[in-house]
Every structure is written in structure tokens, then in C-alpha cells.
């Protein structure tokens, strides 16, 4: 009788383990891999593989991960940096990513790109996924999910992404099998390198808005970022990338300038220094002015690096044996990818 019970329990236990394993494999298979397409989706998770000894952390949307080259900052100034950027990263996502990042390291400076101030509420599940699914589980991730979910999303689908992606079975490709458990690196410390050239031919018009005021929620999170940096004794720098779409309104500029002045934060709107930084929007963008290509990103990084070095008193690490080999390897990989396009 007892033996029979033990046998039954054993079978149940084995079945349960097998079920859990099957679900685990199914989830690994069905989650989007973001390797050959929509590489932006792989950016957030890559951070965990990198050394956590950066002097500068960038947070924000595509205006950071497409426009700033950490390799150039390293090559020109010996600045160690990482971009925790993701597509349409909303300001609360930036805040929680920063909160999480500061558990791993304490940089001397944090740079936040201000374009996301235009969004005051959750926007789009597909973009949420690219920021949130890549994060390791923590209080920060849970809080970011809660702050980001659109009406149709559920928290449980972030805990068990299989619930969201189970229908991908009919769209599986070889890539899904190949990258089930490990992925290639797609970025250079968070920078997504683009080598195409498509210059600006038409300036987008500034379509009038009903209300130019940034929303209360956005302001709250900007305050939180400011406060968090202050508590950790980190210099917060605000930036606006020199790209012409989405358009940046003068009314928005005034609000950010006022905030920066009030909080004693440096703010750099690189739209105002396109010429000075040497950026040529007829050649240095790959999509007619939304994002810079690698040559544009290098120009901006050279220009901004000089500012950061002075503003934040950043040391030159180029002779630092603790980080040298990591950056040299990255330089090689970076130059190889860039070189194929030259």
C-alpha cells in the first residue's frame, strides 16, 4: 500500500518536473529573439554580460542607443560608458532601468535624453516588451511593468511570457531554435551601429499641438531620476539628440531649460550645435534625420565626450589595465562591422 502510494507520488513528481521543463523549453523557443530583425529588442538584456565599471550611463530611447558611440568615447577620451537604451523607452522605464543599474554600479554621470518627456502614459505593448522582457527580475522590473502596461496587457504575461507568445509557434524560424539559450551580441555597450546613409531632403513640419505642457507623470519621473542621482552623488546631465524627427518643439525646449536651471542640471540640446559638432544631416543619418548613422554618432560622441569629460571630471582609462582588454576587444568588433561598410 505504502509502496504503491510512493510510486504514485513519484510518477506525479516526475510528470510535474517534465511539465515544468516542457513549459520552460516552450517559452525559450517561443520568445522573440531579436537577433537578425528588430535588434533593439536585445539591447536591455546585453547589459548583464558587460563589466559594471562605467563612468557614464546613458538612459533613454533610440536617441541614445543610435546616436552615441561608447567606443568613440573610449577611443577619444578613455571614457567608459554604457547605454541602457531601448526603443521608445518611456521615462518611467528609464527611471526603473537606472534604479536597477545603480544596484550593479555607481557611475560618475548619468545622461538622460529628454525626448520621452512627450509621453505621459503607457503607449505600446510591442515597445514595452523590448524594454521589460530583457530586464532581470527585480523590484525595479516589477514596478516598471506596472507603470508601463497598456489596458490590454497583464502583469502575469510578463511573469510567464509564454502566455503572450504562445501563438508564435506558427511563425518560428531557424533563429528561434538557434538562439533559444544564448544570443549573439548585437550592440557595442548598448550602441546599435548603423552604416547606411539616407540624408535629410525635407524638414518635417512642426504640426501644432493642442497642449505643449509635459504631463504630470513625466515630470514626476524626471524628478525621481534627479533625486536618485542626487542621493547617489551622480552628476545628471540632460541631452536632446540632434535628430529632426520626432520634432522637438520650442515650447518643450523652454520647459526643459527651466527645469535644468531650477535643478542646477547641465542640459545640452545638440540640435542647436549640429554645425559645431560637424554633423552633416545629408550624410550622417541613415533614415532621413530620425537617427544618426555611425559616422554621425561618432561626430556627436567626439563633441559630447569633450563636454562630459570637463563637466563631470571624468578620468581617462586608456592606460587602465583593468578595462583595457575589454575595450580593445570591443573596438576590434566595432571596427570590423563598420569596416565592412566603408
Amino acid at each position: 500500500m505504502v509502496r504503491s502510494k510512493i510510486k504514485t507520488l513519484g510518477i506525479v513528481a516526475v510528470l510535474m518536473v517534465l511539465s515544468v521543463l516542457a513549459l520552460y523549453f516552450a517559452q525559450a523557443l517561443l520568445m522573440p529573439k531579436y537577433m537578425s530583425n528588430v535588434k533593439e529588442g536585445a539591447l536591455i538584456a546585453e547589459y548583464y554580460k558587460a563589466p559594471k565599471n562605467n563612468d557614464v550611463i546613458f538612459i533613454g530611447d533610440c536617441e541614445v542607443y543610435e546616436n552615441i558611440s561608447p567606443v568613440t568615447l573610449w577611443q577619444e577620451y578613455g571614457i567608459t560608458s554604457y547605454i541602457r537604451g531601448s526603443a521608445q523607452q518611456l521615462i518611467w522605464q528609464s527611471y526603473y532601468l537606472l534604479e536597477e543599474t545603480l544596484r550593479y554600479e555607481t557611475p560618475k554621470a548619468v545622461v538622460f535624453n529628454v525626448l520621452s518627456m512627450k509621453y505621459n502614459e503607457p503607449q505600446n505593448e510591442a515597445y514595452n516588451r523590448m524594454t521589460l522582457d530583457g530586464m532581470k527580475w527585480s523590484d525595479s522590473k516589477a514596478a516598471s511593468i506596472r507603470a508601463s502596461m497598456t489596458e490590454k496587457e497583464s502583469f502575469i504575461s510578463y511573469v510567464f511570457p509564454l502566455l503572450r507568445f504562445h501563438s508564435r509557434w506558427s511563425a518560428l524560424t531557424k533563429e528561434d531554435f538557434r538562439y533559444m539559450f544564448s544570443k549573439d551580441m548585437v550592440s557595442y555597450n548598448g550602441y546599435l551601429l548603423q552604416t547606411e546613409r539616407k540624408g535629410v531632403t525635407t524638414q518635417p513640419r512642426k504640426t501644432p499641438l493642442a497642449d505643449y505642457s509635459f504631463g504630470e507623470n513625466a515630470w514626476d519621473y524626471l524628478d525621481k531620476i534627479t533625486q536618485l542621482c542626487k542621493e547617489k552623488n551622480i552628476r545628471l546631465v540632460l541631452m536632446k539628440a540632434p535628430t529632426i524627427y520626432p520634432v522637438w518643439y520650442d515650447e518643450w525646449e523652454e520647459q526643459i531649460k527651466d527645469y535644468a536651471a531650477q535643478k542646477d542640471l547641465p542640459y545640452y540640446n545638440f540640435l542647436e550645435s549640429i554645425q559645431e559638432s560637424g554633423i552633416d544631416l545629408t550624410t550622417d543619418t541613415y533614415d532621413a534625420g530620425l537617427h544618426l548613422n555611425v559616422w554621425g554618432a561618432e561626430k556627436l560622441s567626439r563633441y559630447f565626450g569633450q563636454i562630459l569629460r570637463t563637466e563631470c571630471d571624468l578620468p581617462d582609462h586608456r592606460q587602465d589595465s583593468a578595462v583595457l582588454s575589454y575595450w580593445q576587444e570591443m573596438e576590434e568588433r566595432y571596427e570590423a562591422e563598420k569596416g565592412t561598410a566603408d
Binding site: V38, E40, G41, D61, C62, A87, Q88, A126, Y127, M130, T201, T202, Q203, P204, R205, T207, P208, L209, A210, D211, Y245, P246, D287, A288, L290
Partner: protein
């Protein structure tokens, strides 16, 4: 007997004609041509209609076009800068559809006659009071689109037609 055949022929022609009408003004066409209409010259423009037909009829925009690719996904929004108004299209399955129409100055007006600079009283006279107000913005919804007026010192400062559903 001759009467029978003439009657039968008439019925057949009528049925075929109606069937033809059904095809021409079937559900897809009806869905596209709904909501408030913007008229410029002889051209009527509906939100969510096939943009190619509209831009072919309007010709090349004087202010050019701007194509804004999505940050990460396929597809793009395209802006057509015409005199007095901007058309924004979105792309779905390789086709472009009208997403927003924004009136830029008082050289153009809505089909109901409202233009930038008109008073709020003129707006309510033309569209009634069944609007949703948010601050200085007044939105009239019809079918799956919204016509929005932004007021500034009792004058219309912005007029835009936009698709209600998510892209």
C-alpha cells in the same frame, strides 16, 4: 411571352446592376469613406482611406514629403506637406492609409466651413455640442475618427482629423 422575356431581362439587368453596386460600394469602400470629410478643391479626403488615390489626385505636395520610419518595427509614417494642410499616412501590408489630416492655416476649411481663426460659437453652430472637451481641445467623434478643434482665446488655432483606432 414577349412580355415575360422583357420582364425577365429587366429583372436580370436590375439584379446584376444592384450586384455591381454592391461590389462598388461594398463594406470595404463604405468603411473607408466614413467620418468627417476634409475637402480641398474637388477632392474629398476621408480618414483611413487608401492614400495612394488621394495623393495621386492631389499631385506632388508643394512642401515635399517626409518619411518617418518606425524606431524598431517595419512600416513608416509619411507626411505630405500640401499648401494649408498636412496629410499623414500609416502603412499596413504594404499599403498607405490616411492617418491624420492637419489644417495648417485659414486658406483651407472643413467641409462644414470651419477654418483656423473662427470662433467657438461657429464651431458649435456647425458641429453641435456633442463634443468631448479636454482643456482647450474639443473633439467630435464619428465612426472611427475624430475631428479635433483646439481653441486659443476663443479662436480655432488647430484643426485635425485623425483615426481613432490604434494603427
Amino acid at each position: 411571352m414577349k412580355k415575360f422575356w422583357i420582364t425577365a431581362l429587366c429583372i436580370a439587368v436590375t439584379v446584376i446592376s444592384l450586384a455591381g453596386c454592391g461590389t462598388a460600394s461594398g463594406s470595404s469602400a463604405k468603411n473607408q469613406q466614413s467620418g468627417y470629410i476634409f475637402t480641398t478643391g474637388d477632392q474629398q479626403i476621408y480618414i483611413n482611406e487608401d492614400a495612394q488615390t488621394v495623393t495621386d489626385a492631389l499631385g506632388a505636395p508643394s512642401g515635399g514629403t517626409y518619411e518617418a520610419l518606425s524606431c524598431a518595427f517595419e512600416g513608416k509614417d509619411t507626411f505630405y506637406y500640401y499648401d494649408g494642410f498636412t496629410l499623414q499616412t500609416y502603412e499596413k501590408d504594404g499599403k498607405k492609409y490616411i492617418y491624420t489630416i492637419t489644417l495648417e492655416d485659414d486658406t483651407v476649411n472643413t467641409a462644414e466651413g470651419i477654418k483656423i481663426g473662427d470662433s467657438f460659437a461657429a464651431v458649435t453652430k456647425a458641429y453641435g455640442t456633442d463634443y468631448v472637451a479636454a482643456g482647450n481641445t474639443y473633439a467630435y467623434s464619428k465612426d472611427k475618427m475624430t475631428l479635433t478643434f483646439v481653441m486659443n482665446n476663443d479662436k480655432v488655432s488647430t484643426i485635425s482629423y485623425s483615426l481613432l483606432t490604434s494603427k
